[in-house]
Symmetry: C2
């Protein structure tokens, strides 16, 4: 369990198989986000149809509602939401810092008020692991602190806390059927990122996550940070770039040796009527689509594209029919999963690196970076 076998490489990019109790992940892989134990507006059948393999859910949300003990008592997250493929939960750390009404951090943990009802709660590394064990995902995360990337002094403090917490999490972990990943932090500070990469790499974990990116830094800073970090990580463990990202970010991440991605972008865009398309992101509410008989993307094999016209989806949006969000979510998720399928095939046949400029050009108009798409 949790073996990672690299099957092909293209310079730093690699494709491989990470085995989990709920099936193999073929990497690089993009994970749809099911924050509250549901990928918004989709059934598990839809997820199978788009060839999703890994699904992420959020510990902070599920702890608050319906409660991790309830999920445990209902047989765990897989059974509760009826997704029987691999799952990943985050540690709750990022959400506490971005969503909770108020929070007080100390060396042992974080006390915060729920964004739902203002009630007071406390997360510690041990508690985060216990909650994630109750949820029962295949891949779980060490509790970490994500700091303002440009504040060097505080980033050092948060990084050191993250390192101590990673050790506590490893000791606290009891279940043998979950892979605990440590998280590299350090903001956009090269010295801290190098120190963090070396420390997290030294721990006995089956995989390594990179946190604190796509939180307001520039693209160049993200790329530079990935260059520093991934070169210091062991080759034989999967690397997970948390909360990233746009199609462009996925391509640039794979180039730098990233294996796992997740992001709410495809489903969030869908709720705002925005769809990935060859000619660039389309706002399907636009009147120009009122009589457009083409699918969103003629080259796409998803249910929405094989079945419906832009004109129909535009009508659903204007008429405020929720099916619009379902159909665009199916398409946007399939678009990124299909992109990863192509990337894997290119790595396997040795052409990925040479095709990166072409891939980036194809996705250029879909790659607009949005701030704060982690939530």
């Amino acid at each position: 369990m949790f073996q990672f076998a690299i099957t092909a490489r293209n310079n730093r990019a690699r494709t491989g198989i990470f085995s989990t109790p709920h099936g193999d992940l073929i990497t690089p892989v993009f994970a749809p986000v099911g924050t509250q134990a549901t990928v918004k507006t989709l059934t598990p059948e839809h997820l199978k149809d788009i060839n999703a393999s890994l699904v992420l859910s959020n510990t902070y949300h599920l702890y608050l509602r319906p409660g991790d003990e309830l999920v445990r008592d209902m047989g765990g997250l897989h059974k509760f939401m009826q997704w029987h493929g691999p799952m990943l939960t985050d540690s709750g750390g990022f959400q506490v810092f971005s969503l909770a009404q108020t929070r007080q951090i100390d060396d042992e943990g974080v006390t915060f008020k729920s964004h739902i009802d203002g009630s007071t709660h406390r997360f510690t590394p041990q508690r985060s692991i216990r909650i994630q064990e109750n949820l029962g995902a295949d891949i779980i995360m060490a509790f970490d602190e994500c700091s303002d990337p440009n504040d060097h002094e505080y980033s050092k403090l948060a990084m050191e806390r993250t390192h101590r917490w990673a050790e506590i999490c490893l000791k606290a972990k009891r279940r043998g059927d979950q892979a605990l990943f440590g998280i590299v932090q350090g903001g956009v500070n090269p010295d801290l990122r190098a120190e963090s990469a070396r420390f997290i790499a030294s721990l006995d974990t089956p995989g390594i996550a990179i946190g604190g990116l796509s939180v307001g830094e520039t693209k160049q800073e993200m790329h530079d940070t990935l260059d520093i970090v991934t070169l210091l990580l062991p080759e034989n463990k999967p690397r997970y770039l948390m909360g990233v990202g746009t199609p462009e970010d996925l391509i640039n991440g794979v180039v730098r040796g990233i294996d796992i991605f997740d992001c709410v972008l495809p489903t969030r865009l869908a709720r705002h009527h925005s769809a990935f398309a060859p000619e660039g992101r389309l706002n399907l509410m636009n009147a120009t689509f009122a009589r457009d008989e083409r699918p969103i993307d003629e080259t796409c094999d998803c249910y929405a594209c094989k079945t419906f016209t832009r004109a129909y989806i535009r009508h659903l949006i204007v008429a405020k029919e929720l099916l619009a969000g379902t159909l665009i979510s199916i398409h946007n998720l399939r678009a990124l999963i299909r992109l990863m399928e192509r990337i894997r095939a290119y790595i396997a046949d040795g052409t990925f690196e040479s095709r990166v400029p072409e891939l980036l050009k194809q996705w250029a108009n879909n790659a607009k970076r949005r701030e704060s798409v982690n939530g």
Copy 2:
């Protein structure tokens, strides 16, 4: 086309086959309502899965948005919404009276303001037919006026107008691949209902609709009216009871010789977290379901019941996740379609009439009549 073959009878109840250009309807049949060219939150695949056969859509809504000419230019309603089974559109009459902001009725038609943007429009019998021809459903309705059921004087006026308009609609109709049904009106007045039934029966239409029920009258008045009307209608034409109804109404309608029903109740209840179940309607938001590992209905074969627990659906509701509405809609629609499947089997084997008390008892707690579920 539009042949109606009765295959079995049980006293006044009958089961049969009504052939349409998009397939055969096995009657008695319950039609899900797709007001705006979508059965709310469901894909056409979901409709196939629950064995839906006839789908209704609303002329008033589609005329206003996206416009009947747009639907025509996109290939008609079947192609637009990708439902390739039989479809039915109403005439727009009922919606003008129940939804439009203001309306002025005269002997030639109705002038009204859109409930969407206040713009002024006019429907006449000819216009209603032209719109329905643009939409292209298999079964279309004559333009009618639905009056206050207890106002005898006005009901007579409205009925006479409805009769004149039915004749105009028949003359206006041009397409040979659409079945135009006349509509019996007359409120809850036995003399008017008898007169209307005789008049509409005298027209050359392949089927007959009964309007103006489930609009505020008592159950007894509905049953008495059906008793009067159906006994005066020809045996060889399907009878469609518009906008009805609850499970109890379906059973009581079939007993009185009704063949086609439609109602928004299943999907509207779903949006209010209410599900049909053997023990009576469940409000699935109730805290008693938080740890209930049973499906909504253990005897149900729908995707929601075969896949998810009440606990999970309750979590989706509390977390305001739209998938809840999708799952409950699938179940509620399947429940009524399954009821009709059972009724058809009982009529075929000659046991329906003797089973009516048992059926009514089974559905007693689900049968609460809600006012105004036509919209």
